[in-house]
Symmetry: C2
Subunit: 407 residues, 2 copies
């Protein structure tokens, strides 16, 4: 098919290459004559997807699970992150014997198009100029990301996903997968997400973008060429966003009005309160691993997502005739994607008589609950996958071999 | 007492003088030898308070109502604002025949210490250097603001307030007034407020401050000296804060995902959505009327407010023996100061057998509801004030004269 698969990490853009250490990983590059046709009308080519896999694809290629990462996530789901040296972002959920069991399933996760962890994005070299794309990178959509992932699955020989799983922006992709590639999705687990981005969520994203673009070191998006980096702007964006990932109760439980390393307030603008210190830390560690322009593109993709609008304003039409089994999950204290958003999806699925279960998990951890140790989430995912595997008649290679021998 | 009352507007600081037009207004200046003793331990002197009054003080000085403004409000409650040319921020509530009826009450509102509309703040001249204070201005507290207002009341000859009223940060001052000057407060109406600033609220304020301080034009607070202005940083801070003043439902009702002056999304970073355009407007009009350093100081004052902590950790102790009649108001969709915060205040008041009524108003307008046309709020305030006036035996001057003639 013309793609070049590279088993060592060959991230695009000199800048990223200097940021990310050489690690085991995969990058597939689709050549310029096989571009990704984007919703905005521009073809993107060549383009690369950096991805990780865990476990083994079984012989009938029926055990693949695609994990779609969130806004600032990446493909490093269950391995040490090459930039931060921290554990993968979903090790709690993915691995041998974990709810998404890599002894049983072949797990794939790709950095999204527009991202900054090896897939083609605004930091990559624009073949027309030889310089980083910056704002010349075309605006991408959730649907573009999914179309790119479908190309990756073609390459990997996965015709139908056993499941597609993701939270937040990843959950948007799960819904888009189920809507756009009905026959390729046996089951789907959209978590803490919605079928559109709300007005308030767009507003928060706009604040983040304005913070980045207000930083003079952003240089109209050409900070790499200029040898600059809008660190402060991106840190402010991250701080604002981070509050929305938590909940009032969780912040109160974790920090309350506790002071940071002091007995009394300082009557100044230092980080007197623990919550201030925590937020500053969140902001400034983020800028070490994320590209500011990529942040603009990823937030924009979420803002533009509106699955109903893409189907004559009727969300149920997106799922008409779906053969997919759904497990929709929300969290009581998530105010970024409140349960109401998930309920809207469930109602649309019910309207087309889809096979759907709906789990609302009681927690004070807010939106970020999907990334945290939340036993009910683990149980819901593992229970749903087991039931789906039985329904699918999923077999491990050893079982398939036994069956072959017996035939 | 040494104060100099000036009936024309004499705002401190060359910068503000050039911003604000000459208008009718009052400024009282307390001389250096009568400083304001601040909680941080620094005496502030000389210091000025710019204030407005409406209506007429009756002969026994029993009809005064003090209105405490919110974070970015000012003394221009019910007159055209000298900088923005817009109506006063509470004209819906204050004026002849309005719920706070200026035919009946003598209404006072002062710009808080630390503010930027004529009262002494970080933009004022530091007498030690002859330059604007900037970050050399001492950090002030809600309690400092109230102490300054008490000095103003002394000057005006108001021994006891008939009522003190305010929303949000103004409501914090109302509570502080009732706690610190029990005998001077006949009735109190704290609206959409709390007895402390929550962890999440501190977090949002910290984002705003970081946005201001990240702007290189902030110049460590010395932007006036440097001929700069951190407009972008302050605009971002305002945008983030503004979201917290509204509600998800209100944003959805007002804007939804409607596009701004276009049929289709632009696949770019323009303000495609109305909510983006609205937020940008809110951000950039704010910087024309507000001083960035003052924003830092005002937010810090709110963060530091914790009335229970000031009373051995027991909120009810703040109100022990209170003779004040309270009307506490909250709004169902206010997520900055949820009803729970008001309920905590009401419970503390109940614990000391205070005279308290509690009104939770059903609205989707969020925190800002206290500034908007909310008939239930108008009814609650006007009903409470009428009942309190009867209880107080409040008389207009004409009635007092009749009584004198009759005696």
């Amino acid at each position: 098919m013309g793609q070049v698969d590279q088993t060592t990490n060959r991230q695009s853009g000199a800048q990223l290459r200097s940021k990310a250490r050489e690690v085991e990983g995969h990058v597939i590059t689709f050549p310029a004559d096989e571009p990704l046709e984007l919703d905005c009308g521009t073809p993107l080519g060549p383009f690369s997807l950096a991805y990780q896999t865990y476990g083994e694809l079984n012989k009938d290629a029926s055990n693949a699970i695609l994990i779609c990462h969130a806004l600032t996530g990446d493909q490093h789901v269950a391995n040490i992150h090459p930039v931060t040296d921290k554990p993968g972002w979903w090790e709690i959920m993915v691995g041998p014997g974990k709810p998404i069991d890599t002894d049983r399933f072949f797990v794939i996760c790709a950095n999204h198009v527009g991202g900054c962890m090896g897939s083609t994005g605004p930091m990559s070299e624009n073949p027309e100029t030889g310089k980083p794309y910056g704002l010349d990178f075309p605006v991408i959509t959730i649907s573009d990301m999914v179309r790119a992932e479908a190309r990756l699955l073609d390459h990997l020989g996965v015709d139908q996903l056993f499941s597609v799983v993701g939270g937040s922006m990843g959950g948007m992709q799960v819904l888009e997968w189920a809507a756009s590639y009905k026959e390729r999705v046996f089951s789907a687990i959209p978590i803490a997400t919605g079928a559109r981005h709300s007005s308030q969520n767009i507003a928060f994203h706009e604040v983040g973008r304005q913070a980045v673009m207000a930083d003079p070191e952003w240089c109209g998006g050409r900070y790499i060429d200029e040898g600059k980096m809008p660190r402060k702007g991106l840190a402010v964006a991250r701080m604002a966003a981070h509050i929305t990932y938590l909940s009032d109760d969780a912040l109160h439980r974790k920090f309350g009005r506790n002071l940071q390393d002091r007995e009394k307030i300082s009557f100044g603008f230092d980080a007197d309160f623990q919550v201030e210190s925590y937020l500053r830390h969140q902001g400034y560690t983020f800028v070490d691993r994320f590209d500011p322009n990529s942040y603009l593109y990823m937030t924009r993709a979420m803002d533009y997502f509106d699955l109903a609008a893409d189907h004559d304003g009727e969300l149920s039409k997106a799922f008409e005739g779906t053969p997919t089994r759904f497990c929709c999950v929300s969290f009581t204290s998530d105010w970024l994607f409140p349960t109401e958003e998930t309920r809207t999806v469930v109602q649309a699925l019910n309207a087309v008589a889809a096979n759907v279960s709906f789990v609302e998990i009681e927690t004070d951890k807010g939106h970020d609950a999907f990334l945290l140790d939340e036993p009910e989430l683990a149980d819901a995912v593992s229970g749903f996958l087991s039931a789906a595997a039985r329904k699918r008649g999923l077999k491990l290679n050893a079982e398939l071999e036994d069956a072959e021998l017996g035939s």
